[in-house]
Amino acid sequence: MSFLLHSKNGQLVLAIVAFAAVVALLLLTARLAERLRGRGRSGVMVLLFGGPALLLLAVGLVYPALRTLWMSFMDGSSESFVGWANYAHVFVDPAGVVALRNTLAWVVLTPLCATAIGLVYAVLIDRSRFESAAKSLLFLPMAISFVGAGIIWRFVYEYRGAAQEQTGLLNAVIVWLGGDPVRFLQDSPLNTLFLIAVLVWTEAGFAMVILSAAIKAVPQDVMEAARLDGAGAWQLFTRITVPSIRPSLVVVLTTISIATLKIFDITRTMTGAQFDTQVLANEMYDWSFVFGDNGIGSAMAVLIFLLVIPLVIYNVRQMARNRAVRA
């Protein structure tokens, strides 16, 4: 037994045996199910093919979620029950309050700005000669990781004293125009806005691609009828295009909101979450993995989960409705 568990070769043998056993079990049950006839058959089939997926979901998603919930009511080492103390800490600790305030700003501003920019861009380039080139241009940042984007924008925002030669792009422009260099990442509360701009930069391309596809699906006859009725470009946009692509707009907005709630890479690389730029996800990481306090870390995870749930439900229902309309 100890050979199997505690030596590298033993573990390898164990892994192969377990793997072969699972495969054999699956093939055997599939074969048995095939023999079944009549009413029982479809039920068994559902269980057979849906079962493993359900099991994996239970092990990989449901169990950890319940465990996190349980840990959020326990102390730092998950040994004794502390009630709501961890949640109280999140809402009372001055750093926690700053994180909540900033997270709110992120979740409100990022989806709105990214979607607005993506929508306007999609409308402007629609059916133009340079459409595909223009699209790739805005879509490119999507291919950059958040950490990469953070490092790039750190250089753009870099600050040097007024007497020094500016090394940051933006400050170089400002000084060239005769202004004083700005501490983009250091002066709160504006620094949070400059961090949000980085996420908008990466997410606008996503919004643009989805919305551009939706705009192309707006029926031409409706557009032409409206034009014949004397509608101008603005009226076409607000009365025909936007209502027609509303379901896509909702999906884009909610998807970006969910991504924003999880963001922590950008603050971590650009300001180290200093200078009042802390956000909930980064604070959760610090408490759980740097300070080793599972209680407070889990409470923050649960909080983020609660904030995401309504968005996910709305998103799913909207998608289901879209499918019903199309069908």
Partner: protein, 465 residues
């Protein structure tokens, strides 16, 4: 006819299924083997191929036929190769194979490994805080008698105290660095007739002298940066720790680190203010970059590079700043850049702020203890130091073996009998403070958003009850 057809179909179905099974199982085997091959790569090393080593020196460790000792650490890449090279003769002569597994994820993985029953035999902990956490959870074994005897012979009490828990020696320091250094340009010092200061007052006089001689809007005597991604603030906490050792002394330092006095004790306030004499004076920082507030957003190593440009003359940083210098930089008393000891109030007092790696054992098998004893010996320390890049606080190391002038200077300080070594306090404090509120409060203090009293009071209130 009909029956035949039915039979034939069954045969075909059966063979197809058998083939499917064979394919799936074969696929599984291939991927499992590929995985094991990768694991084999990771665990490689040990062995060594040096031949003809003189085995007499290793007789005292005994011989072990075919025994394997595993070591986990944070040491990876080139440094890991150098580490494995350092014990090649030992493994050849004793017959012990050492499997070293170094990973950046050591700090989180070691707990997973240990709790999963997969503990290595030895681990090299990058700081004593981790060692004592491991000991508190009951996973460590005290060093064996030979290792303990070797440690007591070769290390100073200061260094051993950080590996000692409840009067038992668990961790033995293997490699270390000294943080109390000021980097400067020897050429500039010679040109202007500056002398390396030996007391704090001389350092401040020199600062003002440089300011008067060269200071203008862009050139200042000092440069500094404390930005370091998710760990922003640590260089400022090191600076403060060095000041506590100088302003209040090692005894107060110990009380402060162990929270026997409040974090915002008046002596600590005075120490932070002393750091502020440099870090918050617009006449003294931040050469080549901006005003004192710019210290908060400048990457720490980038600040030091200003010494090479001549935008500043003095930069406080640990011995390992050498690794951050551009290739081709000459480091030495006659080179482009060199370091001097950050002086204390009196020239006779030499408090050192240090950091280092400690090796601890998870079992008490004879082979494990033999390796731990070897790592505590001057033979290993000299072997490792000769290979280059690092130094060891082992008192038996010959400074001539150091691979650079800065490392030689570090060794001289480590072996200086008048020096008092104290470990980097933020590594010893609870991590909410040492990797949390201390960093944040010092960053806010450097940024000029809070005064000294307020910054220290906020750290005091964050100390876990």
């Amino acid at each position: 006819m009909l029956v035949d057809e039915e039979e034939a179909r069954t045969v075909i179905v059966k063979t197809t299924r058998a083939r499917q099974v064979a394919v799936v199982v074969a696929g599984g085997l291939v991927s499992a083997l590929a995985l094991s091959a990768c694991a084999g790569d990771d665990l490689g090393g040990g062995g060594g191929d040096a031949t003809g080593a003189d085995c007499a020196a290793f007789e005292k460790y005994g011989t072990f036929d075919g025994e394997t000792v595993t070591i986990s650490s944070t040491i990876s890449d080139q440094e890991a190769d150098q580490l494995e090279e350092s014990w090649a003769d030992f493994t050849e002569c004793t017959g012990i194979t050492i499997e070293h597994n170094g990973t950046n994820e050591f700090e989180s993985q070691i707990f997973v490994q240990v709790e999963g029953g997969n503990a290595p035999n030895l681990a090299i902990f990058p700081q004593p805080g981790l060692l004592s956490r491991m000991q508190a959870e009951g996973h460590l074994k005290p060093a064996g008698a030979d290792a303990q005897a070797a440690a007591e012979e070769n290390y100073t009490e200061d260094w051993l105290s950080y590996g000692t828990i409840d009067d038992e020696l668990y961790g033995i320091p293997v490699m270390g660095s000294v943080k109390s250094f000021v980097w400067y340009s020897p050429a500039e010092f010679e040109e202007n007739g500056y002398e390396v200061p030996t007391t704090w007052d001389e350092l401040m006089t020199l600062t003002d002298q440089i300011s008067a001689d060269q200071g203008d809007e862009t050139v200042k005597p000092w440069c500094s940066g404390i930005e370091s991604g998710g760990a922003t603030g640590w260089p400022a906490t090191d600076f403060v720790e060095d000041m506590v050792l100088r302003e209040a002394g090692p005894e107060v330092y110990d009380q402060w680190v162990n929270h026997e006095i409040p974090f915002d004790d008046p002596q600590i306030v005075a120490s932070v203010d002393r750091a502020g004499d440099i870090l918050q004076d617009p006449e003294r920082v931040n050469g080549g970059i901006g005003d004192p507030r710019s210290v908060a957003t400048t990457p720490w190593a980038e600040a030091g590079l200003q010494v090479l440009d001549g935008s500043c003359s003095l930069f406080r940083a640990a011995s390992f700043f050498e690794a951050q210098l551009p290739e081709g930089t000459e480091v030495g008393p006659d080179g482009d850049i060199f370091a001097f000891y950050l002086p204390a109030d009196e020239a006779e007092d030499r408090p050192l702020l240090v950091a280092g790696d400690y090796v601890g054992a998870f079992d008490d098998k004879p082979a494990t203890q033999a390796v731990q004893a070897y790592l505590a010996s001057p033979e290993w320390a000299n072997s490792r130091v000769s290979i280059g890049g690092v130094v060891s606080p082992n008192q038996g190391v010959d400074p001539a073996n150091a691979s650079s002038d800065v490392l030689r200077l570090t060794l001289d300080l480590m072996q200086d009998e008048g020096a008092v070594a104290r470990f980097d306090g933020s590594d010893l404090m609870p991590s909410e403070v040492g990797a949390g509120s201390f960093w944040t409060a010092m960053t806010e203090w450097v940024d000029g958003r809070v005064d000294t009293e307020k910054a220290l009071a906020s750290i005091e209130s964050s100390w876990p009850k």
